[in-house]
């Protein structure tokens, strides 16, 4: 029987360590962003992506050399899940949207004459410069809008101190998620934006549960020292935080292992985000409240507390 209830862990005692850890991770993420940058997929960089399946195994380096003689600029060839599945990426061509369309035909013709096996074209994506520019813009806007919406919602439901604490934790999560993509150089494409938005929702969900308890305890124990009160609130909700994170991770791990190659990047981002989001609710969002001078005089006759 698993029982995490009734713990009395002093989370705030380690806050200096976790704040430093978070600061280092944020610093690394920002550093990697400027040094490595994100490895944008064709959604954001434009270009052509072709996934093929062949009846025999293909020697990748030979195919890569052959495709690189086509004068299409940088052509990448990589295995995709198995040695018979290949992903071919061709960088965006100079000369606007119309020229991008010719690439598919050129690559298909070349593959047909170079490879002697049967080729099944599983996926073809061509994104022109206009669309990729718009996608990156709307993706960035969506993340900002989401964070801002959370700020407003928490402000509305709690107090500005909570809202600020939650949003700082949220920004922390978003930076670390983008950071992990800069460091690993995993492809950053449209579904990753969706993952980040979901992480924003999930992390907020976790934080709200802890904050809800903080507010409740603020009403209940009017003279309790704030550090003790925060510790109590984190411990009160710890069991729930862990159970929900575990169930979510179980589902995501299953998707990561069995869900196929196409959404691996997306699932990876989600798994990372759930871990970071859980960490930040406990070690960032809640301890931050200690410094934000939260209001102690809550109206005790509010709906939540009416029974006591």
């Amino acid at each position: 029987m698993l029982n995490i209830s009734g713990t009395q862990i002093n989370f705030l005692k380690v806050r200096v360590i976790t704040f430093i850890l978070s600061a280092i991770l944020i610093f690394l993420s920002i550093g990697a962003f400027f040094v490595n940058g994100l490895n944008f997929g064709i959604d954001f960089k434009g270009g052509t992506l072709i996934e093929i399946e062949t009846s025999q195994e293909i020697e990748i380096s030979g195919l890569r050399d052959n495709l690189n003689t086509l004068e299409l600029g940088d052509v990448q060839v990589q295995e995709f899940g198995s040695s018979k599945n290949l992903l071919i990426r061709v960088e965006q061509q100079l000369g606007g949207d119309q020229v991008q369309q010719d690439v598919v035909q050129i690559v298909k013709d070349s593959l047909g004459s170079y490879l002697s096996t049967d080729i099944n074209f599983r996926r073809t994506e061509v994104v022109g410069p206009k669309v990729s520019g718009e996608l990156i813009q709307s993706g960035a806007i969506a993340i900002f809008v989401a964070v801002f919406a959370m700020l407003v919602y928490i402000w509305f439901r709690f107090e500005w101190q909570f809202s600020l604490g939650a949003v700082l934790a949220l920004v922390h999560d978003v930076i670390l998620t983008i950071g992990v993509f800069c460091i690993t150089q995993l492809e950053f494409n449209l579904p990753i934006i969706a993952a980040i938005l979901t992480i924003v929702g999930y992390s907020m969900n976790d934080t709200v549960v802890v904050y809800d308890r903080v507010r409740e305890n603020l009403r209940k124990y009017r003279s309790k020292e704030i550090t003790d009160l925060l510790n109590l609130s984190i411990n009160d909700t710890l069991s729930r935080t862990i159970v929900t994170s575990v169930t979510t991770l179980l589902a995501l791990l299953s998707l990561f292992i069995f869900g196929g190659e196409v959404i691996k990047g997306f699932t990876f981002a989600m798994i990372w985000g759930v871990i970071v989001g859980t960490y930040s609710s406990i070690f960032v969002a809640a301890p931050l409240l200690r410094y934000l001078d939260v209001k102690r005089e809550w109206n005790t006759t509010s709906a939540v507390d009416s029974t006591r």
């Binding site: 029987m1 969506a142 969900n205």
Partner: protein
Amino acid sequence: MLYFSNLKIFSVLAVIIITLLFAVPNFFGKDQLETFPNFFPKQQVNLGLDLQGGSHLLLEVDTEEIIKERVENLNADVRRVLKKNNLNYSNFKVSNESLKFIVEGFNSEIQKEISELSMSNSQNILAMGDQTNLIITQEENTVQINFTEEFIKQSVSNAVAQSLEIVRRRIDELGTREPSIQRQGSSRIIIQLPGIDDPDRIKSLLGQTAKLTFQLVDTSVNFDPFNPSKAPIGSEILASDADEEFKYIVKKRIMVGGENLIDAQPGFDPQTNEPIVSFRFDRIGATKFGRVTQQNVGKPFAIVLDNKVISAPVIREAILGGSGQISGGFDSEEANDLAILLRAGALPAPLIILEERSVGPDLGADSIEAGQFAAIIGFIAVIIFMIFVYRYFGLLADIALIINLFMVLGVLSLFQATLTLPGIAGIILTIGMAVDANVLIFERVKEEIRNGSNMINAVENGYKRALSTILDANITTLIAAIILFFMASGPVRGFSITLAIGIFTSVFTAFTFTRLLISLNAKRLKPNFVGLSKNA
């Protein structure tokens, strides 16, 4: 919170059963569904192109080209008026959106004449009640003419609407399965073609404006077709469609145009057996065509498509019946496509393909299979874990989770929302997150018991106290899903849909269904049912 009136029990069960009914068709084949009684829902989940295979194209109407054409027409109109009034102009400049020139004796009379001519030539574009489509400014002898912004906007809007119609006609002619063709924003068109994973033919059909004209070949000059000299005034050099290097000198004047065609069909020349396209003109076209052929017997007549000469046969006799045929060394597919293009009509401006995403049927099927497998494994893992932590209550949450999953499927089928690969990921994520509401409640119940409440009161208060937390926590995720819905298109949008549906169904089942199950057993509940030790 544990008391349920009979009416409440009935309505909760009714909502669940009705939603579940809508999920049922997804587990049967189309043929089996035919045998179901009529009242039974038969809609299955709509699969996105990434799951069923198909092609997505995003096109943009080249609006610059439309404005350029309008300015060119205006240019011709203005010069005609100036010439008619014997005015000498100089420094005539044509820019992207305006004309500018220096002229003496330009007055309001002439200004009016230009306006009227331009208005009458753009009748089909003007909105009702437009007083003018031109802004004419004069500074001493320098005159500048611009179109009004309203007119430009109207021209573009018309051209896009017209393009949409012609794209639809061209694609319909190919007989593809349930294509979806929609306008997006001011100048874009989204085409979804289920079941087509190689849209080459469609792309080439859409890549042509298909402007057909009949023009006389200029025979006044001798020239080398592979190295033509400058064309005389009133003529132009055009390349052959079959061979870029081979040029023709063709008179600029358009004798008859494709807009007068009423039909075009592919066929074979009975003598040579060569694929041809035969066409038929409307009354006006037939009259024009008859007159030209009558007056120019023995001369070559160029058939020009998108500024390339398909062929230039010599007119043997006057063609008065209003029908003819084009032969240009095509194969039968080319003849077929040309006939489609001519029947559908010319695009008002070229279309540019901005984005293409095509998925083959294999990949889609593989994705569904992998997604289903991942869902089942994730599901089993969550179920076992919940029983491990919450024992009997965990089992109740698991039953709710199963119902919850089918409800997501039912709601997707009911609203005919599109399920995509990220959408499947959203469902799997929901499996993990849907238990959250129950987890919050159960943890509260445990806490109440530890604080000395008896079991019934603990459950009562557990529900009561968890409510606002659950709402706050789920609203934040819902906000993220809504933002994603509005920002994204295509597959990613499918993710936001399943995520949002999952939030609603999980909160609903936690507060109605699991609560109902618990209330039915309220008297027999013991602390160890929620995962606490017996003597807690």
